[in-house]
Point group: D4
Chain length 232, copies 8
């Protein structure tokens, strides 16, 4: 607890980190490059060597990476995912593989946020992008790959039908992510969100609009069911 008080300006829940056995996550939106760097630096001092920073736009991400480099912390910038990873990913020790599937190319930033989060948390990820249901043969040509996954993340905007179709094709749990892609009666993702909540396929649960991080995190927990468990 003391360290939280020391840091003062960030919500770093160390107790939870230790309990869950996963690495640390910083929500970068609304924090300056200076603040982010300082939080990471203090974590390093306390022995935390893997840190994921989300929602950092390209320019700030590069700045953070540069400043971390100055204090000898190696980091990777994933600009499409708006993510910086300091100290590399956790070792991949999940039960199986996580498939990240999108309806269109515009959904890719959210998908990358999910994929990079899952990789950081110790999962192998396979990406199957741009297989929206309006061109069903494309999705069907990838169904074998998707069926190999132990968890599927289905990401789509507009009418969000992808989640139902994928949910009907696989026997793994599906985490659905509505995106704000679309216009008019898409209402910034509401149409896709409602579709996914009302999916006629069983085995689909849903996270917030554009919440790639949340989907990647939940998928990682599922892909480690019974593994992390013993360590807590």
């Amino acid at each position: 607890m003391d360290r939280n008080i020391e840091l003062g300006f960030a919500n770093i829940d160390l107790e939870r980190r230790e309990r869950t056995g996963v690495a640390e996550v910083i929500y970068g939106a609304g924090k300056s490059a200076d603040q982010i760097t300082e939080i990471v630096r203090q974590m390093y001092e306390h022995g935390e060597k893997h840190v994921l920073i989300t929602r950092v736009e390209e320019e700030k991400a590069e700045k953070v990476a540069g400043m971390l480099n100055e204090v000898d912390i190696k980091s990777n910038v994933y600009k499409e995912a708006r993510i910086v990873v300091a100290g590399g990913n956790m070792p991949a020790d999940g039960i199986g593989m996580i498939a990240v599937v999108t309806g269109g190319t515009s959904d890719i930033p959210v998908a990358e946020e999910a994929a990079r989060t899952a990789e950081f948390l110790g999962n192998e990820v396979v990406r199957v992008y741009d297989v929206g249901v309006a061109g069903l043969h494309r999705l069907l040509s990838k169904v074998d790959i998707i069926r190999e996954a132990s968890v599927v993340i289905a990401i789509a905007g507009m009418e969000g039908a992808l989640a139902s179709v994928v949910g009907g094709l696989v026997s793994a749990p599906v985490i659905a992510v509505p995106t704000s892609i679309g216009y008019g009666a898409g209402f910034g993702g509401i149409s896709a969100l409602l579709s996914m909540l009302n999916s006629c396929a069983s085995g689909v649960s849903v996270v917030n609009i554009d919440n790639g991080f949340g989907a990647g995190y939940q998928a990682s927990l599922i892909n480690h069911v019974g593994i992390r468990h013993e360590f807590t």
Copy 2:
């Protein structure tokens, strides 16, 4: 115009009937069996021999049929469709065939309203029911039949994904009908309605929730494009 005034209590637009060359339609909800029978009887006197009555629940429908029989007007009751047809259907003279496709069995009443309306207006109809996208192999096994249609009516509740998947599989225009089937965040058909309006497939347009009649009517107009045209 005079006849409209005579009838007094119903919206019978005879001018339009003559112009469009289609038969007459009575919206039965909120009208008594007596009122409906009297309107049909007067239409018969004025030479109108094909009348469709929609939204009549079973008991009222049987009563109307009985009363019409007493004045020597033959009629058929389609109870699942909540429809009575007096004087039989118009001859089937459309360009092609209309396919009526549903996601589930609960959507069938709306589908029957669409199908019976289209048949009444002079169209051949093929029914492909209960082929929701969660069991894609079932839909795919019927795709050849659906592709033969000149117009497709896609009817689904819950997340309404059927319209997008069907829209991607056919090259005919698709009229989508959201149904109020579902619960919770289905919001009485809003989820399906939004899905269909945001369909990622081109060639899909949408009618009101549960509006089987409207879909059958629009599909019939499409299936007679260039045919009726000459007669107006």
Copy 3:
């Protein structure tokens, strides 16, 4: 596929059953006791020995159980869950245990639907009911039990805060179920639904309002990750 055609009036997806290795589920709402019994009977003839029937109110459930008994099919009625199980549950072979947690006593019917579904699909379930966040000490006194679960189902109406608090206390994936319990600005579950989608805790995904079955099914898939996998 042929069998589906034979049955005619129900959506029985046998192909999927074989692939997923789980038993069969019938959505009982809108089906008569006769229809349900006949579907179960035919399934038995085709070798399917475990059938779950959901959304059957007490009277219909008793009637189904009686009719099944006449054709020598043993069944159990769980009236609070509105569920009938024919042929008993699948053997419990999940990775760990599933905790079903509710905020109030009014949420119990949804919780029982989730719990009975999970038990049917081969999971051990622990019930922790009536531990809403307004009386935090009650929830905290049960935290050790909840932390033992490999998956947690958090069920709450009103403001749905339970999902966030539970999500922060455990390292297992949490499936949140908003219920329609509440009044006024609860809007039939919308308030709880939005709360759960916006949870500040990571590792929470959401199903439709009152969808206990969906939560139990998803939790079972998660609790069998990597197990069923090998059999598909």
Copy 4:
């Protein structure tokens, strides 16, 4: 399929193109001028000579046209419609003519998107703009022209009453497009959308808010019913 993989960054569904017999469409929003040009160039190499690019603002459109010119592909920029057509329109071979009708002058960009799309897809189009129902004599003075069309596209913002009035005046199918024109309780097109879905006129179906392309595409399918059909 291979070509899709080659292109990598665009959703080009060649299988569908071949089946439907229509030319190719690129959704330009979110793609750079470079990306668009490269997609068109590769299509040309594969023998596709008619390409429609939608949602390209003026500056990007001019840039695309210039770059296409450099690789000897002739194109036209329709700036009000935010459309670029490469290789010219398809030959006009529809059953009849498509009328595009708007309520106000502010609806014209959406109308032009519809009209240019329909022309590209092989249809004759007549434009009847600025005939909103508040000045009924203006609409009535054009009714003969509109009645000649085999399909009518009715485009309006604010209260969207145009669709109902036009629907009552013609016997052709009407595709209604709500626009986001208006303010306050217009809610960015929701008022017009609801009006059109609830139209008291039969024969009206609706596409998404501001979706001129979708209306033009659907109208073209309707205007080719039974024609394209033989070729698929």
Copy 5:
């Protein structure tokens, strides 16, 4: 003020009555026949001889009329309008005539509430019912009558387009009343309400859904502008 206290159970604002110079109105919903009768009786004792009671269903209305008769107060029951008038209407002394126009026959109960209210408050009313915009020739055949009115009340459900069309045809102020007639995306009158608020015609203002009384009252105030004024 004292009398209000005496009566105890009704909101009778005598001060306002005296100031506005109009007769008294009782909102009958939620009051028993006994309560209504007692209020009217006490009003009579205090010299108030014209009382309008709204929202009284047929059975209660007849009961009130019977009880009033016993205390020698003459009253009329208008069952379609759900109105009872005790002591007859005020003398018709308005500037001109009020036209009450409806889109369909289902809107008539709301229209009658408006018409009877206006008649009670001293206005001549002309009824033009069932002239919805889908059959424009019917509305146009009545336009001369409507143009003679000094105020127009336009009443419609579904898409509510009537208000805009009428607003464009007349130069009198139009009070628009959305009705809850319709289904699905009509949302109990919201579609019509939004249409009317967004009317492209100038000179239209709107009252609450199904508020026939409010429209009749407002129209009466307008039809007495400058007349009552002198008396206050």
Copy 6:
């Protein structure tokens, strides 16, 4: 009609102008200063000497005024109202006076749009600004002035309670205008809009959010009831 075609780019409904006997109005939003000036100039040529141009922001308004001056048309710019009047107001010949009342100072731009519109259309206007119901004594101190009006326009944002309170204080018709002033659960004017539609005071009707012009226009029609009437 011919002149409309000549002008080409504006919705100038001359037939209506002649019928209603009021001057001309141009909706300036989305039109350039050049377009507005040209429309006004042509109107002048056709004998129309009073033109109101609404929704013109200050810079464009000044530009229009300058250009009109060059062609010898005198105009006034009312920048708070975002209005330009060419050729001066119509003579004030209404029945009485129109009171424009606002809840706060932020509502003044909408109020000025209403007031200037009413003045242009031939009405005397009294302004009573910043008398919101939270400081009731301020409103009450102005009640005598407001009661003198033949029509009252009540303008408020936030909770819009002003309309109900004013409606209860006067016997003239009240036109309520919700404004988008407020934040959070004000939802851009929805809160005020709903308040006004549900007003517990009789004699209140409502126009669109921020629609000062519509209120001024409607109030002018009311203030000329029975006057203009004879001329149509």
Copy 7:
């Protein structure tokens, strides 16, 4: 904690009761008369002598009172408030008095729930009913009484303007309760709720629609600020 487990079927939070020093509350909706009686009986055994039971309709309330009488527990039934009080109210020891104010007579059941709750919790209550803002003189005639209160509960449906007007008239904190009274665009209390949240008067906070209990409880806490405080 043990006692909670014993009781089994009710959420009785004894720890909180002891800490807050207030008596016990049972939410009666969804509990049978038997269950309620048994909970009260056990509370009595554990020394709890004041119990409030809310949301019990008349018939059940009488049944509970009868059964309590049999086990020698005296109780009062307040049928308009849908409340039963066992063991009498707590002694009135608040700082001042609580005023409960309503807009109409239809709001009285909610008001009585608030008033009875506050009285039970040890407060003096003054009722000022039916003083809606459309008849401002009535409210103003009671303003002296209301100003004497240390807390004011303002209860209104429809447009909910009462909260703002009262908020502007007093210097005590105001707890606003929207009610579901109204129709059409009242949306079951949403209009009043939004009004109250957007109140232009400072010092107003809001509870859920129809939540009389919540308002009474909160008002009691406020009226005991600094008193109960010492005892916790």
Copy 8:
């Protein structure tokens, strides 16, 4: 009243100030630095020595402070709270202390608005920031401090669960403030707002989204119940 007329451009309710005994508040949004300064200056001339100005962004705040300095009025700028205080705070004379609690760091600007408002109005404030329910141990570690408060302000965005958890932990009244922090289905604070209105904890009332000032003001009224009372 006269002074209000003199000032002309601001809503300064001096009568209320005198009655409530609190100092003056200016809502700074939409007012220029010049206007604000002039209002303060005139207040000073009339003897008002404590003025709070809210919703002034940093640059304007500094400008106001500079201009006040020139006329010898001392002021403090609290930039995170977007508040300027002229003449210092009122003496702290409340019953107890007010605790301001937030879920995250992003809620701090709203919290500071609440805290500075409460301090200005004569209250001691304790800040407990960033104790969201996902990290319950952090909140629990502060529970003793929070329980000492006589009023608690609970501020949270996203799912707003903090209000319920805090409400269950304390016996003081809780004023809940939803913030617009969040994204997607947070809908700009609606999710948090609904959560708080539906709180399962008693003793929670709610103000508008982001309305820190309103919460601070209401809390101050509560913290002075029975104190100010004697002076009114």
